[in-house]
Amino acid sequence: MPRTNLVGIVCTLIALSLVQPAYAGEKFPEYPVHAAGDYAVTAEKEGLTIGLQPVEDLREQKTYFHTELTPKGFVPVFVVIQNGSSGHSFLFDKTGITYGESGSGGNAPDAHSKAGEATAVASLAALSFVGAVVAAKLMANATEVQQDILKKEVQSKTLSPGGSVHGFLYVPVQKKGPREKIHLRVPISRADTDETIVLDVVF
């Protein structure tokens, strides 16, 4: 009788090792991509257009990331940047992106005085490693969720004429209560000169 139990246990273990775990088949849907100018929050400069869509609805976060990010202190913001110029290439380096709380007046950062702009820049924090931090904050065994967050993060890229880049930025926010307006600053440099174009957006 004990031998039968042992055989049963071994068979069950073998069967379990062959069966894919339920979460292994999970699919993470891609967030829909539109033209940068079609988003509610946009900015345009010298042929470069940025469009933003903060994904604040928890059900939507659950759909696209299989987890709720706001209770963990992050809001995923979908970003699309398009190079609409006919002859210039631009270098988008995500390590240059900064964010911060927008001024109480609620003006667009472009309208700020130079002093105000400098203050805003000083208070902005780097966003480049936030994706990894978000992933690390998730349940350690939710490796598929962590990996999907990395895959969906926007990455540095050269924007050839007519080219675009898209992906998520994970912006730190308060875990509870209404969030303050966020000022996002995206510097993009021309590939042929040293000129840097800064796209400022508030949402």
Partner: protein, 198 residues
């Protein structure tokens, strides 16, 4: 009658066997811009620090894992990029400005690897590799991030380490191949190469 029956059986088999051999050379005849090497004297910088890059994932409860991505990259990148540039030299430190027409600087952005419970279930690894290419004056002329991925069985107590090594090597190899493809197809690098050849 019997011969007719055999013909019905063999004709689809012959089609399956020989059709790809007819199609492959036909597609191979077309020359895309990516097929020709970039006439640039390029320097690939693989520092000892980069080659020693390790990514540690997991914790005490889920199990810590170390992925030796740098070691894999330092054996995969150079062969993959040889087909892209007319002249490629591997160095351990960035050269002083003016020595090379193009300096290739790779950097690991992040690494992700799933875990599975079953030994025969596939785990996926993703490697994000960022490239910064500088011209002879030291100015950045091209940036790109490639996402290499590979899948392998998780493995059991005996095969786990070997499988982990394989998934690292294959994902880095995929990233290296994608890097080569992106560099070959880049209009910015083609323009730079054309400027050098004129």
């Amino acid at each position: 009658m019997l011969q007719t029956r055999y013909w019905f059986l063999t004709s689809p088999l012959l089609c399956i066997l020989f059709l790809p051999s007819l199609v492959v050379p036909a597609s191979g005849q077309t020359t895309s811009p990516g097929d020709t090497k970039l006439t640039i004297k390029a320097v690939l910088v693989l520092t000892p620090e980069f080659c020693a890059t390790e990514s540690k994932k997991g914790d005490f409860w889920s199990g810590k894992e170390t992925f030796q991505t740098g070691k894999a990259a330092c054996s995969e990148l150079e062969p993959a990029l040889r087909g892209v540039f007319s002249n490629l030299t591997r160095v351990e430190a960035p050269p002083s400005s003016g020595e090379a027409q193009l300096v290739l600087l790779p950097r690991f952005v992040d690494v992700g690897a799933t875990k599975t419970l079953g030994a025969f279930s596939d785990r996926e690894m993703v490697v994000l590799l960022e490239w910064t290419l500088k011209d002879k004056s030291g100015k950045t002329v091209w940036i790109e991030t490639v996402q290499g991925s590979a899948k392998h069985h998780m493995g059991n107590a005996f095969t786990y380490k070997k499988n982990r090594k394989m998934v690292v090597e294959d994902s880095v190899k995929d990233a290296a191949e994608q890097s080569a493809g992106k560099m070959s197809a880049s209009p910015e690098l083609r323009k730079l190469a054309d400027g050098n050849s004129n």
